[in-house]
Subunit: 437 residues, 2 copies
């Protein structure tokens, strides 16, 4: 898991030519997992791997007889309607499957026609959640986001003392997580303005997105057995894009003292593809902590955290309003931020969450929290971009936004790019706001 | 669901004689559902109904041919390894099954020998969680608890302004919910005392229980479709006992601004039996709101909330320390409180949780929050009983407690009693603290 192998070789191309295009999200070196079926078909949802413009149907691929040993066990588990069983197998099986797929899909591979018969074009596919998500936790990993948002909610006390000592997080709602493409009604809730004596129940006026990454748990841990930092990545399956839609006015009224609740639980969206830790290996980066800040307690610092704890993933947010859509104007980019700017690493989130003995289970989802960076164009939600709604954002077609309007579509993309490496993409995470009832 | 029928007739007795004892938790009028198997057997866990000292094995009962129509459909669904499918059927099927079971188990019923062959003694049984719990939410329904605990965490501002307008709640952890009988290690976590500059990672020193009731969701609602107050009970399956074990020192350091997280997620315990809304019908009570307090917004007030929104359930907490156990001293009662003292009703919790369009699913669990009452002997956690650890509690054998010690067993019981009605019990919810590693 930790070292690069032939599956990362930037010189390798695929016989699926769309995978070799420079801007492609899904080159041979990526091989992300998801659950799909042909659009509007009666087929069962089943596991697949994205490559170029195609999906490898894993069940069909197993039937070719080209998979053996651990790779076959892994492919059979991944061919079912959720990836949970595959996730539970841990990294060795996942790596074996990656290596077999890489060998079968590269230029010059034998029996290409057998594998070609297992491909489904992505244009013909629809997706399901890649896993049954037992528990969803959402963190607050970006100091930039915590500082900006904290200043709006608590001007005197934006970043609380615990932030720099532990990854602040809370439990989220699993049932309302949907795969990319979801439309949803603007939520209603109790809203209270400071100048009225009573709240009222009405549609949110301050609907927002939050650009995050979602970490899917692979192998679980037993209850009462915390996961240490040097083992944490053995419990990580991979990473997707996550939009933690938020109703800021519901949140402001409800969130004390027990945290966000209905402000978040109406809809959460994840991208259909999960990029594995293996695919992200070339983009590992040193993790630094400002020397004037508290350094991590020993249980939150692994033997290689400082050397390679971070991963350099870019996350973009684009907006297309209803009017832009009807005028055929392309989505405009609102922000791009980098996971490398996160205050906490993936392993620190896993280790912290299990540090009380809590059992993580295959398919559990951990959100990073809104991944805002230090610059204005790296602010990853409207609450920050519009400074709490005080500074409207002018769109190129003359529309303005403080928060989301009905008909707005939010598109999130993520990717890794580095000199000498093949670009690794995450696809997209898309959602559209419908009017309240 | 709302009216009493022959299944509530206090004059009816069962041919299972242990069900007719006055102190019995499970008379003919109760018929709670759970999932069991014979202790230490290789049998599959399966649905059953408690009566007297026995369990009706629903799968075996269906095989007698004595169930027909909706009752048969319900019994077949309830005979599986989780009650989720049965829960999803909604109240009509549940009521049909209750009526058939009541008729088959009452004195004078035909074919008693066929049914007797379906009984498993409770002394020979072990239990599983009655449902796969997709999402667990925990509320904060007791004004007494909120006032007492708020005063400890925020002396200047114990009860926040939102408390009297909406049922404050937060998302909990599903994976760490276990059925009664669980032992668990004292959790570790980051603790920080006010007089040290840095936190440390170590075992909790302020481990506590919280006596709650757990509401299991029956039929779910579609996403984007809030449940109104007059429909809310159609989405409730029943009620169990819930112990929301809490590490107060972990909580104090972590909980701002996003709420409790690792202070709660190490273990939560529920009783094996779920008492249905039908069994609780004779204990419905008027729901009152202090006229000087805000009255509920219209969406949180049903047509019969004031007349019968409350349910009079008593919840007891008992403690047996390791020394008491070895000296053969019976558990001592620490508190008894009443759900009738709750500030919010079950329907208000359901309606509020779905008011933003959040989809509730069969088997979801809603905790009421700690059910403290107004009197000293109705304080339902040690944090309140010991006034934040300042006032040790003297036990009859000379031991003292501020918080839980290793080896302590906490036993919770619940029951309904009312003149002219048969007592309805919930069984017990038991857990024991083991030392940290």
């Amino acid at each position: 898991m930790k070292s690069l192998d032939e599956t990362h070789d930037a010189g390798q191309k695929s016989w699926i030519l769309s995978a070799n295009v420079n801007s492609c999200d899904f080159p041979l070196q990526n091989l992300p997992f998801g659950v799909f079926r042909r659009h509007k078909s009666q087929e069962s949802f089943r596991g697949g791997v994205a490559i170029g413009d195609e999906i490898v149907d894993l069940g069909a691929a197993v039937d070719t007889g080209l998979f053996s040993g651990d790779a076959r066990i892994a492919a059979e588990a991944a061919a079912t309607s959720t990836l949970n069983t595959f996730m539970s197998l841990g990294p060795a099986y996942r790596i074996a499957l990656r290596q077999t797929l890489s060998a079968l899909l590269r230029q010059g591979a034998a029996r290409q026609e057998d594998m070609r018969a297992c491909l489904v074009p992505q244009t013909e596919a629809e997706y399901a959640l890649p896993a049954t998500i037992g528990d969803f936790s959402d963190f607050y990993s970006s100091l930039h986001h915590a500082t900006n948002v904290g200043a709006l909610f608590r001007p005197d006390n934006p970043v609380l003392p615990n932030f720099k000592w532990l990854p602040v997080g809370y439990h989220g709602r699993s049932s309302s997580i949907f795969v990319s493409g979801k439309t949803f009604r603007r939520p209603s809730g109790q809203l209270k303005s400071p100048d009225t004596p009573a709240p009222e129940y009405r549609p949110s006026r301050r609907l927002d997105y939050e650009a995050e990454l979602g970490i899917f748990v692979g192998r679980g841990n037993a209850t009462g057995q915390p996961v240490d930092m040097d083992s944490a990545e053995e419990h990580v399956f991979g990473v997707s894009i996550l939009n933690d839609w938020s109703a800021r006015d519901i949140q402001a009224w409800e969130y004390q003292p027990l945290g966000p609740f209905l402000a978040k639980s109406f809809t959460t969206t994840v991208s259909p593809w999960i990029v594995t830790l293996e695919a992200l290996a070339p983009f590992r980066s040193p993790w630094t902590r400002d020397p004037t800040d508290p350094q991590p307690l020993p249980h939150l610092l692994g033997s290689d955290t400082r050397e390679r704890g971070a991963i350099d993933i870019h996350v973009e947010v684009l907006l297309q309003t209803a009017r832009m859509r009807s005028d055929d104007i392309a989505p405009i980019k609102l922000s791009v931020s980098r996971f490398i700017d996160s205050y906490w690493t993936i392993s620190q989130l896993i280790t912290h969450q299990s540090s009380n003995g809590c059992n993580l289970c295959p398919g559990d989802l951990l959100g990073t929290g809104t991944l805002s960076g230090p610059e204005r164009d790296s602010l990853a939600c409207l609450l920050e971009l519009s400074r709490g709604g005080q500074t409207p954002i002018a769109l190129p077609n003359g529309e303005i936004r403080t928060f989301l309007e009905d008909g707005d579509t939010v598109i999130m993309r993520a990717y890794c790019e580095r000199d000498g490496q093949v670009r690794i993409g995450f696809g997209q995470c898309v959602g559209t706001v419908l009017p309240a009832d």
